[in-house]
């Protein structure tokens, strides 16, 4: 040890003489965990580095699937029936018969299209 080093060391010892480092064991426990508790804590606090884009994309897909599946049947049925809600369906009397107004209008339209072609 060179004399300057010796001097600095002494100075440090003097200045830090009042401070006592007591948690060395704990620090060691953290950096090199031995007990299962310590190991668990290490995993608990382990910092992951995740690629943001692929993760958010796959999450979005998952959410989309989750929400669409229950409604899929509905979309399918709606398409097959091809009609709108009929809560306000009306009757119409035409040519002595009573029809649902929308059915009747469609039938007349069909007949007229057929006539034109």
């Amino acid at each position: 040890m060179r004399p300057e080093q010796e001097f600095i060391r002494k100075k440090l010892d003097e200045e830090l003489g009042d401070l006592h480092f007591l948690k060395s064991a704990e620090v060691l426990e953290r950096t090199h965990p031995r007990s299962w508790r310590a190991k668990l804590r290490a995993i608990w606090n382990y910092e992951l580095e995740l690629p943001l884009i692929p993760i958010s994309a796959s999450l979005a897909v998952l959410l989309a699937i989750l929400f669409v599946v229950p409604f899929k049947g509905d979309v399918y049925k709606g398409e097959r029936r091809g009609d709108s809600p009929h809560a306000d369906r009306q009757l119409v009397e035409a040519g002595g018969n009573t029809y649902w107004k929308d059915d009747y209008e469609k039938a007349v339209e069909d007949v007229e299209i057929k006539d034109q072609s």
Binding site: E47, T98, V108
Partner: protein
């Protein structure tokens, strides 16, 4: 881009996600499921009902009650028995205007019983609770489970809080009605006594219903009470359970069915119904159905043809069979016809002796109907287009400027090439009883069939036709006359001249004038349908040229092949009476009476019978057999009572002089001479005779 995250934070996020998924599953998804099920049910998607049942079974508490309330109780039939989509009877069909979810599937009785029982067990006690009880009782009644029905109503009544007394009273009345229907009159009367013990001056509606039921029970107890029973089935024999059946008085049929009408019931599981204790009177049977039940079917009843006349102590059976609608074949789907004939063809009906072909002209908000041809023996007929042009039809009024005039299109009838016409057929058996018809409810793809419309474009509009369509009636008439002058073969102009002359006479309320006569004579002699003859007969009748009236009646009889409609026949009968040819007149009136189910000519007929034979017993029997019905609030004469009056009066006085006086009075009455009748009336000595003569003089 990379994200730095600690495992514990990642874990926290995962936990939060799971929690929200669980939350969704537990609280949000069921809501969505309920909403979807509701939507599917309302739209009538194929498994909408199963879906709603699944949701119903899975839910509990208020959700469950709300579902039962909105989708079962709200649209269900209460015990009031009139909540059906269609009320059919006497040839009329009345559709209810309010159906919240017309496409929603129907609940079966079993389903309703299951959920309504649950509702009664645990549902909230409010207005719907009372309705649920009534509907459950209704389901029990249709299954002949009278005791269960009464029990549920009674328990509901006990559960109701004190301040809804009216609802409690309604339930008690419903219970009394069920007892009365089941013939347990003592039990019914006990309840009615309880009800009248605490009168409620506010609720006149309920009080009215209580009084009506009380009156019915009193009638039911009388020995003279009649009963009407029967069954409602489809033509293939399937019984129709839970159908509303209403025995409606002729005084009630002019308005729509109301709850206070006394004879209302439901068919049981075999389609059977019974009304006990029916008061004497004229009745028509009506039924209440849902749209799917009437769709493609018809109740074959013609207006005025199915009257039930009860005089007391009778026990009648009347079955009602729904028949499939006839399918039309041609012309349909707006076919355009340009030829000189039209061939109408339809599906044959088993057991049909003949068919009646009817048509309609379009008007602004509907159609006007008419008969094109009656007594057609085959299921198709080729008609010359002239037959269609000669059709006699009513007309609507149309506004031209500030004037209302008869719709020119209706006047042109089948000669208006822009009009869309429709047609229908009725099938009748050899006795003239309606078997089925082609017009009715066609509410789905299978039952809709082809559209019954066609166009006739054989006739091109002439100049006067155009004037007529523009509302320039007087100019049109002049032009038609000019056309006819130029061409004596112009049958279209001739027809239009006669139509316009008749209408102007009708509007001015005067008989046809002599200047119109040549046109009418010409038309009557050239038109093979005979449709112009009735006006000519009444014209000659009105001026007393009997020989001409006879001649044209003979022509009408020929054109109709011996089957003259009852109205012109009765009118001719009266013309004969007027001439003093009472025996011939009686024969015509007898035939007209036989063909007219409304019995409106019975007074004239009875008068002619009395004149000829003085047989008051026979006259009374006829009057009882064919009562003239009272419609609306008008009271038509009770002929049996009037004849009874004559009988009593004749017994009190010298027979010979009484009948001489009666015969003389009848001759005065037949003359239709107002002055002579008034003079006779002022000097009449016998009050019953005076009443009878007065009634006969008023016969239409």
């Amino acid at each position: 881009m990379r994200l730095k995250i600690k495992v514990k934070h990642l874990f926290a996020i995962a936990v939060a996600l799971c929690a929200s998924v669980l939350f969704l599953q537990a609280f949000v998804m069921p809501r969505i499921e309920i909403a979807m099920a509701k939507k599917h049910f309302e739209q009538g998607t194929p498994d909408g009902k199963e879906e709603l049942i699944r949701v119903l079974d899975a839910s509990s508490g208020n959700d469950k009650w709300a579902l039962i309330r909105d989708y079962m109780i709200e649209n269900g039939s209460d015990l009031s028995l009139i909540r059906f989509d269609v009320i059919a009877g006497d040839g009329t069909y009345q559709s209810s205007t309010t159906t919240s979810f017309p496409n929603a599937p129907r609940w079966t009785g079993e389903e309703k019983i299951k959920y309504l029982e649950a509702y009664i067990e645990g549902g909230p006690i409010d207005g719907y609770y009372v309705r649920a009880a009534k509907q459950l009782a209704y389901e029990y009644v249709t299954r002949s489970r009278t005791e269960d029905a009464v029990r549920v109503l009674e328990r509901t009544e006990q559960k109701l809080p004190g301040h809804v007394e009216d609802q409690g009273r309604e339930l008690k009345l419903a219970r009394a009605r069920i007892y009365a229907d089941a013939g347990q009159l003592d039990a019914a009367e006990r309840l009615l006594t309880e009800l009248s013990g605490t009168p409620q001056p506010r609720n006149t509606y309920l009080n009215g219903n209580i009084a009506a039921l009380q009156a019915r029970i009193t009638a039911q107890r009388q020995e003279s009470a009649s009963s009407v029973s029967g069954a409602v089935t489809r033509s293939d024999g399937t019984p129709m359970a839970g159908i509303g059946v209403y025995l409606r008085s002729s005084r009630d049929v002019y308005h729509s069915l109301i709850e206070s009408e006394p004879y209302q019931t439901l068919t049981d599981s075999e389609g059977k119904f019974a009304f006990k204790g029916v008061a004497p009177g004229s009745y028509a049977l009506y039924i209440g159905l849902n749209f799917e039940q009437i769709d493609g079917w018809t109740l074959p009843a013609s207006h005025d043809e199915e009257w039930i006349d009860l005089r007391g102590g009778e026990h009648l059976t009347r079955n009602m069979t729904l028949q499939r609608l006839i399918q039309l074949r041609s012309p349909v789907d707006q076919q355009v016809i340009t030829g000189k004939t039209v061939t109408f063809e339809w599906e044959p009906v088993e057991g049909a002796a003949y068919y009646t072909l009817n048509g309609t002209f379009p008007i602004e908000n509907g159609t006007v109907g008419h008969t094109i041809k009656d007594h057609i023996r085959s299921h198709s007929i080729e008609l010359p287009i002239e037959t269609l042009y000669s059709v006699v039809s009513g007309y609507s009024y149309k506004k031209f400027g500030d004037k209302q005039i008869p719709d020119p299109s209706n006047l042109l009838g089948y000669a208006d090439p822009s009009s869309r016409f429709s047609w229908s057929v009725e099938a009748r058996d050899a006795d003239g009883k309606l078997l089925t018809r082609s017009d009715g409810y066609r509410l789905n793809e299978q039952t809709m069939g082809p559209l019954p419309f066609f166009y006739l474009k054989e006739h091109t509009l002439t100049e006067p036709d155009r004037l007529l369509l523009e509302g320039r009636t007087d100019e049109a008439l002049q032009e038609y006359k000019a056309n006819y002058e130029r061409n004596g073969q112009d049958s279209h102009s001739l027809r239009m001249i006669v139509k316009l002359l008749e209408i102007s006479a009708f509007i001015d309320k005067r008989p046809l004038d002599a200047a119109s006569l040549p046109y009418l004579v010409k038309l009557a002699n050239t038109d093979p349908t005979g449709n112009a003859l009735p006006s000519l007969i009444s014209y000659y009748g009105s001026i007393g040229e009997w020989a001409q009236a006879d001649r044209y009646y003979g022509m009408l009889n020929e054109a109709r092949q011996g089957k003259v409609e009852s109205y012109p026949q009765a009118q001719y009968g009266r013309l004969l009476l007027k001439q003093g040819r009472v025996r011939e007149g009686e024969e015509q009136l007898r035939q007209a009476q036989a063909n007219d189910p409304s019995n409106r000519f019975i007074g004239d007929y009875i008068a002619s019978v009395i004149y000829l034979s003085a047989a008051l017993d026979k006259a009374e029997e006829l009057a009882l057999l064919y009562p003239e019905r009272s419609y609306y609030d008008s009271s038509n004469p009770d002929w049996s009572k009037l004849v009874r009056g004559l009988k009593e009066e004749s017994e009190d006085s010298n027979d010979k002089t009484y009948f001489d006086a009666l015969k003389e009075a009848l001759l005065v009455c037949f003359s239709e001479d107002k002055k002579r009748i008034e003079d006779w009336m002022s000097e009449a000595k016998f009050p019953a005779m005076k009443a009878f003569i007065s009634a006969v003089s008023d016969v239409d």
